[in-house]
Every structure is written in C-alpha cells, then in structure tokens.
C-alpha cells in the first residue's frame, strides 16, 4: 500500500493541475476552501476561483449560470451543505437543465468526527442519486481521486463527487492494469464465497476485512465501487452469480446509498442476500473520527461480521 493522503488533498492538487490545460475550469467554494482544498486551485488560478461566502444555495446557482455560459464549474463545500443545504438548487438549477456543474462534497460521512452529527453527512449519496441524470462518485484513495477528477473534467453533465477528510492509504496505485472509468467498479481481490462492495474509505477497511475472513476460510471478493451512480450492473450481477451473497459497505446511511443501489438492481434480476453495512439510520455523534467510525461499526471487523452473516444467509 502506498502513501497516506486524504482524497480532498488529491482533489485540490488535481484540479489545480488540470486548470492549466483547461481554461474553462472555474472553482467556487463557500468559505471552506481550506478544508475542501479547493484553495489549491484558487492559489494556482486566482482569477478563476470564487469564494461565495457562507451561501451554498447561491453558490450552486452561480455555478449553474457559469456552466450555462460555457464554463466547467466545480462547486465545493462540506457534503452536508453542498448536497444537503443546496439540494433543491442542485435539483432545479443543475440537474433538471443538465448543466455541466460538478458538485463537490467534502468531509462526507462520519469522519468529520469531532464536529458531530450536524456536520456528519450520511445522506449525500441518497440525495444525489435520486436526481435524474446525476453521476455520483466517491473514490477511495488519492490516486483514484486523481483519475476521477480527470474523468469528470471530460464528462459533460452534472455530477457529485464526495471527498474524504481523513488521510487514507493509497491502494489503487499498485493495481496492475488499473484504469478508471466512471460507472465501472474495480476488482481488488478475487474470491468465491461472498462479495464485499465498498466505496470511499470503507474500501481499505474492506481489504482488511478480507484478510480477517481469509484466516477463517472465507474467500471474499472485494470490489471498489467508486461510482454509486450509474452502478456497474455487469460487475454486480457477476458477483451475485459467482459468489451468491453480497455485503455493501459505505460511510453513509444504509437507507438510500450504495447498498440500496446494489440491492435494488439485484432484486429485479438475480436476487441473492445483500447485507447493507453503514450507518444504521441514526445520526452520528462527536468524537475522534476513527473512534466514531468504530462506534458505529464501520471497521474491518464490522464488515467481516456482515460478511459472515451474508454467507450464512446464502446457505439457508
């Protein structure tokens, strides 16, 4: 495994770098530029960086107007306020007119830690994936984030990109033949007994869960599903057919997220047990990020427990 870096840092660096070749890229933030790391773009391209103040609704609308006039705007804030506060602006001013706005939600999930429940957005995938035509993406590490940002610059249309707060191990850079395609998952570990599908920082934890399970004789397939929407149906169906049981792990409410995307798809085409692993429809709380994640079971052991449950469900 490679260096430890937060995906938000990779986001800022990559966007700043791409800004030199893409004069049409502009970035907006709502007074959290030093946290979302959009400031890195702002430092490199001050004439194309707009701090809109603590006014997310307007920021999204301004981004829509910039896109309507030919720009490629990236509008960032904490996931809670980007996807949550400005939901209706995203729906009506971005998604409905299919404008080329990238909404960037940083500090997604519980790992904002000490700030507590008001800032722990475990609903952003749900809010964004229910919008027609919206791409929803949550890369797992810095390398994948770099590829995702590049792919999104070339993608014409509305998309939501979730960034993580914590520094996480880079796992995708060491993969042979790794290539990033929006809407296509990445196979991280082959396995036949159960499939663990994860995104964001749950991917690294899923890999550790795979080791725990292997020691018990359970051979888990592990998939990094960086794109929540559109979901990689082919890879999900293949996993269902070949392993017969699935666990979906995400730093998100089990309601409305990646787990339901997988379960919703499979229930219509090839029903197998799908166990959703995430925040179980409760609000978060303050604490050190890793402690909070553990408290809610978002740990390698938490994933392993769900995998055992899935294997058990398959046998019935």
């Amino acid at each position: 495994m490679g260096e430890k870096l937060a995906t938000r840092v990779a986001y800022g660096r990559t966007l700043a770098k791409l800004g030199y070749d893409h004069p049409e890229i502009v970035a907006l933030d709502a007074d959290l530029a030093c946290s979302t790391m959009s400031q890195t773009f702002g430092d490199a391209h001050p004439d194309r960086f707009f701090n809109m103040g603590i006014a997310e609704a307007n920021m999204i609308g301004v981004a829509a107007g910039l896109a309507a006039a030919g720009k490629k705007p990236y509008a960032s804030s904490f996931a809670m306020f980007a996807a949550g506060r400005a939901f209706e602006q995203i729906r009506n001013s971005v998604a409905y007119p299919r404008l080329n706005v990238k909404i960037v939600g940083s500090h997604g999930g519980l790992s904002v830690g000490e700030d507590g429940a008001t800032h722990q957005c475990c609903e952003d995938f749900a809010l964004m994936r229910c919008l027609p035509g919206m791409v929803v993406c949550c890369p797992c590490d810095a390398y994948e984030m770099e590829q995702a940002v590049k792919a999104l610059v070339d993608y014409e249309g509305p998309a939501y990109l979730r960034l993580g707060r914590l520094a996480v191990e880079t796992v995708t850079d060491a993969l042979p033949n790794y290539s990033f395609t929006l809407g296509k998952g990445t196979l991280l570990r082959a396995g036949k007994d159960v499939t663990i599908i994860a995104n964001g920082m749950m991917v690294q934890k899923a890999l550790k869960a795979g080791e725990i399970l292997a020691a018990e004789g359970i051979d888990a397939r592990i998939i990094d599903m960086h794109t929540v929407k559109p979901i990689d149906e082919e890879m999900v169906l293949q996993a269902a057919k070949e392993t017969g049981a699935i666990v979906v792990s995400e730093e998100h409410n089990i309601v409305g997220g990646l787990g339901e995307a997988v379960a919703g798809y499979l229930s219509g085409v090839y029903p197998v047990p799908v166990i959703r692993h995430g925040v179980e429809d409760v609000f978060g709380c303050s604490g050190k990020a890793e402690k909070v994640l553990e408290y809610f079971g978002l740990s390698p052991e938490g994933i392993a427990a769900k995998a055992r449950q899935a294997v058990e469900a398959k046998r019935k």
């Binding site: 502009v26 004439d47 194309r48 707009f50 809109m52 103040g53 006014a55 609704a57 307007n58 999204i60 609308g61 301004v62 981004a63 829509a64 107007g65 910039l66 896109a67 309507a68 006039a69 030919g70 720009k71 705007p73 209706e88 602006q89 009506n92 001013s93 409905y96 007119p97 299919r98």
Partner: protein
C-alpha cells in the same frame, strides 16, 4: 425614444398580451397577473434593448435574459415567438403534454430560453454566474434578470445580491416587477420587503426606478443602467398586476388562475380592442 418606436413596442406588447391570455385560457392554467405586469418591459428588452439573434439562440456573445420569476412564461414565450425564435402557432402548446412549452421555462426545450427557472430565487444566482463568466472571458455581453417583488422574500436573492456586488458585476441588470401582490395577497401583508431601494443600495447595488408601463422610460432606464460601472444595477419597476384587463388589474387572485370561458371572452375582447386601437383598425 422616437414616437414610431414607442408605437411599435406598444403594438408588440398588445399582441403578446392577447397571446398570453389565449395561452392561459387554452391551457386552463398559468400565471397571467404577473405576466401582464411585465409585458411592456419584455417588449422593450426583446425588441429594443438586448443584443440577440433569433437565428443563433446559443450565440456566445449574446445578451442573456433570465426569467427568475419563472412562472411568468406567458410574458416570455409570446415575446420569443414574436421575435422569431419559434412560430407563434406553437404558443398554443403552452403547458400541454404534447407540446414543449412547459409551465416554467426549460432552456433545453424552448429556443431562446437562456436558463431553466421556476423555483423562485434561483434565477438571479444563475444570472450572477453568467455575468461572472462574462467578466472572466472579458466579454461585453449583458445579463438581464426579472424578479418578482414576492420572489425577493427568498433568502437566496440576497445571497446573490452580495455576490454580484463583491464581483462588481456591472454587466448585470436585475429588474424587480413591483406589482405589490403575490399569491396570498399584498406583499406588504404576506411579508413586507420594502424599502427595496434602501435594501439593494445597502447591498452595494446601483438602484434605479421606473414606470413599467412607459416604454420610453423603460428604455431610458435600461440605457442608464448600462452606463453604471463597477456595480450591478437593480431597477425597481412599478407595475400594475394584470395590466390591460379591467377585472384583473391589482387583484391578487389573478396571480396563478386561468379565466373561465366567460371571463376569457371579456379579457380577450379588452386586449384585442387595445391592439386594434393601436393598429388603427
């Protein structure tokens, strides 16, 4: 403004008022009151003020118009049709399943519509974004946004107002249709928003006022807005809601209601008579 030009604009808005009434009656729904109040402004914008080309609706250097009070499509669609963006026959597809003139403007469906709007308070932000893009690209196109005086109750309008002042968007001209009424009654009762002049001035805007039914005054005020540098301009436009139809004028109930057949016959007759008189028939 020359008398001939004034006459021409009067004829245009008289025609558009007839179309608006026909559309709303045929669809049996739509927002006639605020459309009639804004119609004279719309005629001046589309036939005098804006640098546009109906043959190239997506022309990069065009002036842009954002109907932030998006429900007033009966004021926008007839102007677009009369200006040549699409045939006037299509106006009767308004709000119909088998047409594409949706209740609120859809930039991907209706030629000439620069921004999809409808949710109040959002259009002005998009207009700020367009003006910002113009500044980034060093273009000299202008952005016009029409808001309702009920719409300004939305907090987002004031977020947008701060941003427009911060970025010195002198290429942005917002017009507030001050007809004094919103769905539930007088704006003064539902949510007092006055003094709008002092509020916008405090937000760093250049504030102008005009009579929204005086073509020369509208044209002069828009020209005056163009000369203001370093600040966005807002024009507080005094109007009569339901303008042109005797029983609709200054009645909040006609905000979003279609006339029944009897009411339509009277309204249509009044508007058609006004047009005929102008055309000297």
């Amino acid at each position: 403004m020359e008398q001939a030009k004034v006459h021409q604009l009067a004829v245009t808005s008289a025609k558009a008022r007839v179309y608006a009434m026909d559309m709303v009656h045929k669809a049996a729904s739509g927002h006639i009151g605020g459309s009639l109040s804004a119609m004279d402004l719309m005629a001046v914008l589309y036939f005098d003020e804006m640098n546009i080309d109906p043959a190239r609706p997506r022309w990069e250097d065009r002036d842009r118009f954002v109907l932030s009070k998006g429900h007033c499509t009966p004021a926008l669609y007839p102007m677009l049709a009369l200006r040549g963006y699409f045939p006037v026959e299509r106006l009767m597809e308004f709000r119909a399943l088998d047409g594409n003139l949706s209740g609120h403007p859809d930039m991907n469906q209706v030629p000439g519509v620069d921004m999809s709007t409808g949710s109040l308070g959002q259009g002005i932000s998009a207009a700020v974004g367009m003006a910002l893009a113009g500044k980034v690209d060093k273009k000299d196109y202008r952005i016009y946004a029409l808001l309702g005086d009920g719409e300004v109750e939305e907090g987002q309008v004031w977020e947008a107002a701060m941003a427009a002042a911060k970025y010195h968007l002198d290429n942005l001209c917002a017009i507030v249709d001050v007809n004094g009424l919103q769905i539930d009654g007088a704006t003064a009762d539902v949510m007092p928003s006055e003094p709008l002049d002092q509020k916008f001035a405090a937000f760093g805007w250049n504030v102008l006022k005009m009579d929204g039914h005086d073509y020369a005054a509208i044209s002069d005020t828009l020209a005056q807005a163009r000369t203001c540098k370093d600040r966005p301009t807002v024009i507080l436009m005094k109007t009569v809601k339901g303008k042109g139809v005797s029983f609709m004028e200054n009645v909040a109930g006609w905000h979003g209601k279609a006339p029944n057949d009897e009411q339509y016959a009277v309204a249509h007759a009044e508007l058609a008579a006004a047009l005929e008189e102008l055309e000297g028939r």
